[in-house]
């Protein structure tokens, strides 16, 4: 019984760890789409940030400097997106796809030419990684059933970025619904002409949203290479940016539902790892490929079933042009 409970806790623990980049990226997408910009390039920004963080953390030996580099690269890519689709009113999908391709190609190219490790960055050790924080008393309580285990295994023992990601959910909620910035942001995504006639710059609002998006994607990417993993691996985002977009739509562009959508996708990922090689009654051993495909199958099923009721910000994807 205690064994089983521990197994559940460990699965949930894994859920939390794999959900972190999804949560950060989905919030990034949420903020930017609330301003009326579609960002397909979450994936590319995360990947570029993961590479930058892995590289700088290795060279400097500091995970924090790595994080800073990840954020800077990600924000620059976000601004590039803004330059293309706000300033020049380009197609937002094309610009986002271009950023994904750019990040995918550049990280491998630079990785091979700098480190000659086939696209990996050298493994990170010590302070070059964000290490797990053990909460006070966790080791003592670990022996106590249920509550002690919950505390020691589930709450304690994550790195700082995990806690940061979860704090971002109420923070984004507060920003959206309790501040002047949030009111203007939401209005910009719904009716930019109303914002313009109220004397507020639509362009400025959209750039600010993109900068926030860049910061959140930068943290997500840095987490992958310096927190969750120990170094950059080529294509290490593996579609997380797109899953995050799915979670954002599934959560209807609202921070708290988006959090639960991300946790659901993370949970499926964690189960997939657990179920490998496990005998399931009636079916037998689950094929690994099927289990790994599970989150994506669920994405399709959920979105097919629920997207009809998800209403995007009205001005999403439309460049703002004054009419006459």
């Amino acid at each position: 019984m205690a064994e089983d409970f521990l197994l559940v806790i460990l699965t949930l623990d894994a859920t939390i760890r794999v959900s972190v980049p999804l949560i950060l990226a989905a919030l990034a997408g949420l903020v930017v789409e609330r301003s009326g910009i579609i960002d397909i390039g979450l994936e590319g920004k995360m990947l570029a940030a993961a590479f930058a963080a892995g590289t700088v953390a290795y060279l400097s030996g500091s995970a924090w400097l790595g994080l800073g580099a990840g954020i800077v690269i990600s924000v620059l890519l976000a601004l590039l997106h803004g330059f293309a689709c706000i300033t020049h009113r380009g197609n937002q999908i094309v610009s986002g796809v271009a950023i994904n391709i750019l990040a995918s190609g550049l990280t491998v190219l630079l990785g091979i030419s700098w480190f000659s490790l086939g696209g990996l960055t050298p493994p990170l050790t010590g302070s070059a990684r964000f290490m797990s924080l053990t909460w006070p008393g966790a080791e003592v309580l670990a022996g106590t059933p249920i509550l002690g285990q919950l505390y020691a295994e589930l709450l304690s023992g994550h790195n700082i970025l995990v806690y940061l990601a979860f704090l971002c959910v109420p923070a984004v909620w507060w920003l959206l619904y309790r501040t002047r910035f949030g009111l203007r942001l939401r209005a910009t995504g719904e009716n930019p002409a109303a914002v313009d006639t109220a004397g507020i710059s639509v362009i400025r609002m959209r750039y600010l949203a993109l900068i926030i998006c860049g910061i959140l994607c930068g943290i997500a990417g840095s987490y992958l290479s310096t927190g969750h993993g120990a170094g950059f691996v080529r294509e290490m985002t593996a579609g997380k940016g797109f899953i995050a977009l799915a979670a954002m739509i599934f959560g209807k562009w609202r921070p708290v539902p988006v959090l639960f959508a991300c946790l659901l996708f993370g949970f499926l990922d964690a189960i997939a790892i657990r179920l490998q090689g496990v005998e399931v009654p009636l079916i037998g051993e689950m094929p690994v490929q099927f289990i790994q495909a599970l989150p994506y199958i669920l994405t399709v099923v959920l979105l097919a079933g629920f997207i009809g009721r998800a209403i995007a910000p009205k001005a999403s994807g439309i460049p703002y042009v004054k009419e006459h």
């Binding site: 619904y177 309790r178 501040t179 002047r180 910035f181 949030g182 009111l183 203007r184 939401r186 209005a187 719904e190 009716n191 002409a193 109303a194 914002v195 313009d196 006639t197 109220a198 004397g199 507020i200 009205k314 004054k322 006459h324």
Partner: protein
């Protein structure tokens, strides 16, 4: 009513020599205007006369090419709406500038939040809105979601928005266009209450009875110019109508008497309501006979466009029925544009750029649009490219389309040549019924004459022609019979040879009864 105007104090607004171009269009031409403080000032003119452009310049939404703006006697440069708002100018746009998913309070707060956090501003706004509600009779639930409110209430939100920001000069752009008559009356009460509390109101409208009912002074715009200023008490609807429409040299055609034949198209009590439930056409009945031209006159926006759309099969009528060569068309038995074309009805749409052609298509593609299934143009799989191009070249020669290049993109032609191409396409099908909307809008003088001749020839060949135009001269010179539309109804019918601009102009403003009573 209080006395109009206040000559002793500085005008609330002074505009001097405002000019504005949009590409080749000279939207405002040396416009000057002075609005006394604490008055209601009307600006009238037909659609496209430049009223909205002028107000958008005053509100800082556009920048004038040249000219000066003074607010309360002080020079102001408007670089954006924020400057206008700071100068105490508020605007209620024709298309509301509201966020549908926000509550009334959130909409009012947008742009005037009173600090980085919403909580404080929200409480202050709630109190202020309650006060404004009481003062001006603007009852509204501040927590209602705007998208769920009726149109009249949404307009109240716009008024509250402006008042909340401390506007003492309020611009309203065609405020009654979307309102029911009761809502409009309510709005006017509110506007009078504002005027009595010292707010200056500028009202843009093309509805003359509104202008006469509520304004103290009125300015008339025509074709981008300010043509007259009047005290409302000293003018009449008839005078304003004449000033709005203007008198231009008539292009008289050599016209023989019509030989009307059998009824080709009959409209019987046709009505149309739009998605918002507003009635755009109201009980339209008329016959269109072979061999006659019936002109539909009216100030634009009085249902002419909707009438054309219903007749052409683009929208089914909500009530009543049409008969085209015996085919009965009503709500239950609609006919689409394709079927009507097969019945021998051709349509030259009002907006040729949007409905008459596809701008990026080559001329030969535009020249067969809608008839591309004709065996002359298409084989079992592919279009007959060479045949179509030869056919188009023939049309271009007969209709004098320049340059006569079938491969040129449709939007590379001038307006007149585009129109000749569309006319060629429709006329050369030899239709029995021809609907023509604004045939010479944006067309140069030379082409106008040619187009008019083509329409006359169609009539003389026995085609039934329905002509919709906002150019009164065009209606007068072509039509055998003239129907006048006003607010979705036909308010008058005049024989073509007995019509004159003044009578029609009065009918267009629906001022006949008043005139008769006075006269």
């Amino acid at each position: 009513m209080t006395t109009a105007g206040a000559p002793a104090i500085a005008p609330a607004i002074t505009l001097r020599g405002i000019n504005k171009h949009f590409g080749p269009v000279h939207a405002n031409r040396d416009v000057s205007l002075s609005v006394p403080a604490g008055s209601i000032h009307g600006i009238v003119g037909e659609n496209g006369a430049g009223k909205s452009t002028l107000m958008s310049i005053l509100y800082g939404f556009y920048q004038a090419d040249s000219g000066a703006i003074e607010v309360g006697g002080k020079p102001c440069s408007m670089h954006g709406p924020e400057d206008a708002l700071a100068a105490g100018i508020g605007m209620v746009h024709q298309h509301f500038m509201l966020v549908d998913v926000f509550t009334v309070l959130e909409n009012i707060l947008l742009g005037a939040e009173g600090g980085p956090l919403l909580a404080g501003g929200m409480a202050a706004a709630r109190a202020e809105v309650a006060r404004l509600e009481a003062e001006y009779g603007l009852q509204i639930d501040p927590d209602a979601v705007v998208g769920e409110l009726a149109v009249g209430l949404r307009q109240r939100v716009e008024l509250l928005k402006a008042l909340y920001r401390g506007a003492n000069i309020l611009i309203l752009d065609e405020p009654t266009g979307v309102l029911t008559p009761q809502e409009a009356d309510r709005l006017f009460e509110i506007l009078r209450a504002m005027r009595d509390r010292g707010v200056t109101v500028i009202l843009i409208s093309h509805k003359l009875q509104e202008i006469m009912a509520i304004t103290d002074n009125v300015s008339v715009m025509r074709a981008g110019e300010m043509v007259a200023h009047r005290r409302t008490a000293e003018t009449t609807r008839a005078e304003l109508a004449e000033l709005m429409v203007g008198r231009q040299v008539l292009l008289r055609l050599d016209k023989t008497a019509a030989q009307p034949g059998a009824v080709a198209l009959r409209a019987d009590d046709v009505s149309l309501s739009d998605d918002a439930g507003i009635r755009r056409l109201d009980g339209i009945s008329f016959d269109l006979r072979a061999g006659e031209i019936v002109g539909i006159a009216g100030v634009s926006g009085n249902g002419q466009s909707e009438l054309l759309e219903v007749l052409a099969g683009i929208r089914p009528p909500s009530r009543g029925r049409l008969a085209v060569h015996g085919r009965i068309i009503d709500r239950e038995h609609p006919a689409d544009a394709g079927e009507l074309r097969r019945l021998g009805l051709a349509h030259v749409p009002e907006d040729r750029q949007r409905m008459g052609m596809i701008p990026a298509f080559a001329a030969w593609e535009t020249a067969i649009l809608g008839y591309h299934h004709d065996p002359a143009y298409t084989g079992p799989l592919l279009l007959k490219g060479a045949d179509i191009v030869a056919d188009t070249a023939g049309k271009m020669a007969r209709f004098d389309v320049r340059p006569a290049d079938p491969y040129l993109a449709s939007d590379s032609f001038s307006g007149g040549n585009q129109q000749k191409l569309v006319l060629a396409r429709e006329i050369e099908r030899r239709p029995d019924i021809l609907l023509v909307g604004q045939p010479t809008r944006g067309v140069d003088i030379g082409a106008i004459e040619f187009i008019h001749q083509q329409i006359m020839q169609m009539r003389d060949r026995g085609c039934a022609v329905l002509l919709v135009s906002v150019e009164l001269d065009e209606i007068l010179s072509l039509s055998d019979r003239i129907l006048v539309m006003f607010e979705g109804r036909i308010v008058g019918e005049v024989d073509g040879d007995k019509a004159d601009a003044r009578t029609i102009g009065l009918m267009m403003a629906n001022a006949m009864d008043t005139q008769a009573a006075h006269g």
